[in-house]
Amino acid sequence: MVYSPPLDRCSFSYLTPSRMSDSSKTDEESALNRVLQKTANDVIDVTYIEPHSMENAEVSGRTREYRSQVASLRGVSRPVAKLPPNNQPPAVMLSKELVSPADVRFVTDRSEATAAAVESMEVKHGEPLVVQFAAP
């Protein structure tokens, strides 16, 4: 019958130096694996896929096709500006009261004020963003 003492805190003297280095090695390896795993999970690959490169024949074919389509559009005459669709006959519409000068002035003023407001949009200046290091 062989007596084997229970392994507890007092039994660490039974661990030889080689066994301690093995366990610390295992801990280090597991820590390294955890770090590698976390890095692999966190890495975001931003390499973009090259756009599909076409053969020269395809490029020249498409260029010819697009040029012919643009040329065909150039010959098309633009439609004459028409009155907006309305149930009333044009004579009745055109004989109605004109827009008042006050309304025209109001719309013009509001448009100019809106344009000025957009132009004046700017960032509120705080401390300078760049710190200059004093050269020795």
């Binding site: 973009y48 896929i49 957009v118 949009m121 300078p128 760049v130 710190v131």
Partner: protein, 125 residues
């Protein structure tokens, strides 16, 4: 050197009236600074924005021969996104659906005008 707190304060000024988050990132996708409610996904947003920019920049170079790509504006289902080049970095803003494109552009332009000079000073040659 840039002051990160001041930079964040500047970016925060845009986050009103439906503007949800403002980010400053480099074309490689690294996040430099951000402000707003980004739901802890600001790194992913920065990476996706950089990817979209880089995917379009090459073809835009041949299309806009003089200047190259300056602006990307996307009207998405749940909101709007604008990406604008500032010095050698990218300014990305996303907003709620209710924000108009004009206001989006006006705020991004105002931010870009303010940040252009300081960022040029620290831009690597």
């Amino acid at each position: 050197m840039l002051k990160p707190k001041e930079l964040t304060k500047v970016l925060e000024q845009a986050n009103t009236g439906g503007f949800q988050c403002t980010l400053l990132l480099n074309p490689e996708g690294s996040l430099m600074a951000f402000a707003g409610k980004c739901d802890k996904k600001e790194n992913i947003t920065a990476a996706v924005a950089a990817n979209i920019w880089m995917s379009n920049a090459k073809s835009a170079k041949s299309a806009f021969q003089d200047e190259g790509l300056q602006y990307i504006v996307m009207d998405c289902e749940d909101g709007k996104v604008a990406i604008r080049r500032v010095a050698n970095l990218l300014l990305c803003v996303y907003t709620a659906e209710s924000v108009g494109l004009g206001m989006l552009r006006a705020k991004v332009e105002a931010l870009a005008r303010y940040l252009e000079e300081p960022l040029k000073q620290i831009a690597s040659p």
